[in-house]
Amino acid sequence: MSTARSTELTGLTAAQVAAAVAAGEVSAVEVTAAHLDRIAAVDSQVRAFLHVAADEALAAARAVDDRRAAGEPLGPLAGVPLALKDVFTTTDMPTTAGSRILEGWRPPYDATITRRLRRAGVVLLGKTNMDEFAMGSSTENSAFGPSHNPWDLARVPGGSSGGSAAAVTACEAPLAMGTDTGGSIRQPAAVCGIVGVKPTYGGSSRYGLIAFASSLDTPGPLARNVLDAALLHEAISGHDPRDSTSVDAPVPPVVAAARQADVAGLRVGVVTELGGEGYQPGVLARFGEAVELLESLGAKIVEVSCPHFTYALPAYYLIAPSECSSNLARFDAMRYGLRVGDDGSLSADEVMSLTRAAGFGPEVKRRIILGTYALSSGYYDAYYGKAQQVRTLICRDFDAAFEQVDVLVSPTTPTTAFAIGERADDPMAMYLADLCTIPSDLAGNAALSVPCGLAPEDGLPVGLQVMAPALGDDRLYRVAAAVEAALERRWGGPLLGQAKGLAAPPGRGEASGTGEAGGIGR
């Protein structure tokens, strides 16, 4: 295969790849090889992957080609490569959750998400880097070192699904899977200039997902455009009897909604509390323009107050650590993972304490201690109990808002991508990255981030967050697809077409962007 053809293949959307494979214009093996080449060329700088499964990926691609040759029907994503967050169990690849305590672990079973992707003919390229146990907003909490933002390698790609976001942004894969507990899909998508979706809680299975905070953890798609995200959303969703919190309801028609791309008559609420002081001026400027754009497309804009959203961050940092302190008790050095200090003289209890001290990083330790504190008798009512009541009040704010409007919008993050190291040992500063995304996690409803331009002060991507009621996931796609189409008409192409560095389309190299996303020209 020529280099030019290989480069061209990595720039295709997932929908284009699937169509080309189905039509026999290109083989799944060729597509996979092209992406493996791209990974080999750029991942020493991006560091999106913890493990690349080249042989297994090529074998999976060959199986798709064989099925096509045999005349079997192929699904809508057959032959499309995907980067899988290293929190989903995989029998043929290590699964570490970014932690030393699971280094080299080979799970004995596949997650439901993994199984559904394989069944759909999706080609798993490897496992992506993440903050340890998904606790963080930058991938700096990975035991294996940070991933880098392809727009500017000195900056974070967001987190915790930062490896997945970086892989898609740098065209190492057209699709990736992430998980969202406090914003871990939408926040990295926003700071990398791609699309990321947190489905309704229970809409995507948690079976085989290494647990962080079980009442919040939600798997979801990352992609370079809205339609691709919808195709992946549909492929992974649906009831799973192995997850007792899985919703037994039809999957919302997300692909149809992405194709509809129409907001005429839709009522859009701007959340008063998610903006203003503490937000980067360029983020607010692009967000304001996106709202004007929605109005120009026929949406009806109203301002909506959700007064308890200002308490979402503190409530989250009690609920998530509490659940994590319980979930991570399973890492006891007995049945799998790391064991240290087993010298014949130390007790199981001592070995457990030494192993956990050696195997967990600082943020995981902080959250386990915080959660243990919040759940202790004497503090339970004042902290965990109160946080659960705040969660109810946040849900009621959403319910009241969705009586007036069809969707809510806000910036996805208060700032653009920050520098690696800037917030690494300042937990509260790091936590603020999830300020706008946490309310939807606490309520369990659906939310998405779609690029809405570049902040003029630093030339980095800004995300527009769209929030919809539980099981109203299709509304997200209607709005995001309409915004994406209108902005691409203005810009003359996708946002990544204006990117610098490794976020630039493959083949264009280091050429600097000349488009209009930095300021909407008319």
């Binding site: 004995p108 919190t245 050095a333 199981a348 902290y383």
Partner: protein
């Protein structure tokens, strides 16, 4: 309501984390800042507000009691830190005295 270094040491013992003296010093300060910030939930008047534990109100999810194959023993034990005679080998669980 500040959290003391002694309290952090106690919580670390409860959580089975053998933290170093330097970690205890470092975390005590950071946890105090975090706890002060999250204590804001106490400002909300929430008398009579029910606690929310879960986003989806599902209760008692049952399935048919059908036997399915277990994971193969050798596959599971291959990932254990130590195995012996087809079982997990663990450090001693009882004290000498």
């Amino acid at each position: 309501m500040p959290i003391t270094r002694d309290e952090v040491a106690h919580l670390a013992r409860l959580s089975r984390l053998a933290l170093s003296e330097a970690e205890l010093d470092h975390f005590a300060g950071q946890l105090d800042v975090i706890l002060t910030a999250v204590a804001r939930v106490q400002e909300v008047a929430a008398d009579g507000i029910p606690p929310m534990t879960h986003a989806v109100p599902v209760v008692n999810v049952f399935r048919d009691d059908v036997v399915v194959p277990s994971l193969p023993r050798e596959v599971v034990l291959s990932q254990a830190p130590a195995a012996e005679q087809g079982r997990f080998r663990v450090p001693r669980i009882l004290a000498e005295d």
